[in-house]
């Protein structure tokens, strides 16, 4: 069975703080993909990153960074120097034989 767990339901930070969103997954597949999506208040799903199961290199894109650790089945997402525009719901997702999502973490960045 596949499962994605985002234990943090809601996080509130003050602008310029760093924040990490946790994602833990379960799968029996040896080949799989992990994703992060952002859903702003407007409702659309915005793709942020994809990682395949064979690539454990961490990735940085501007203020965003991702830490993939197969040993702990985690794919955590860090926003450095958060901004008000980062306020959104963030979803972690797993593509194995299907494509499932965690319940999401609502991030509120206060000015």
């Amino acid at each position: 069975a596949q499962k994605v767990t985002q234990a943090q339901t809601e996080i509130s930070v003050v602008e310029k703080e760093d924040v990490t969103l946790d994602c833990v997954y379960e799968t029996r597949d040896t080949t799989y993909y992990l994703f992060w999506y952002k859903q702003p208040p407007s409702g659309e799903l915005v793709f942020l990153i994809r990682r395949n199961s064979f690539d454990e290199q961490n990735e940085i894109s501007g203020r965003y960074s991702w830490n993939f650790q197969k040993s702990t089945s985690s794919f955590n997402f860090t926003i450095t120097a958060s901004q008000v525009v980062d306020s959104a719901v963030y979803f972690c997702a797993l593509k194995g034989f299907s494509f499932i999502f965690g319940k999401g973490t609502r991030l509120l960045v206060k000015p």
């Binding site: 993909y33 409702g43 799903l45 994809r50 593509k95 299907s98 999502f101 319940k103």
Partner: protein, 112 residues
């Protein structure tokens, strides 16, 4: 226009009625998915399809029917709508190797 489109964007229907949500993609992606989004539950997979004429149940398939006679279309039918099916529905398509996924803009369905 290239992309993935859902129709209608908004729908109000009565309990017991049949309603079909449409999803069309222009890329010929192998995979297509239907999700419902509800507060506190995130995105839950209803049905998915790996190719034309191949469909499979997701986490919450009860009360829904899908078909995929053509690669580009993946309609979702609520056979007898219930108030618990009030939700926002998202359709997605994905290339066969799972490397890229695209989402429609969503359909907000209200069952009264």
């Amino acid at each position: 226009d290239a992309g993935i489109t859902q129709s209608p964007r908004y729908k109000i229907t009565e309990t017991g009625r049949q309603v079909t949500l449409m999803c069309h993609q222009t890329w010929s992606h192998s995979y297509m998915f239907w999700y419902r989004q509800d507060l506190g539950h995130g995105l839950r997979l209803i049905y998915y399809s790996a190719a034309a004429d191949i469909t499979d149940k997701g986490e919450v398939p009860d009360g829904y029917v899908v078909s995929r006679s053509k690669t580009e279309n993946f309609p979702l039918t609520l056979e007898s709508a219930t108030r618990s099916q009030t939700s926002v529905y998202f359709c997605a398509s994905m290339v066969a190797d799972g490397t890229e996924a695209f989402f429609g803009q969503g359909t907000r369905l209200t069952v009264v």
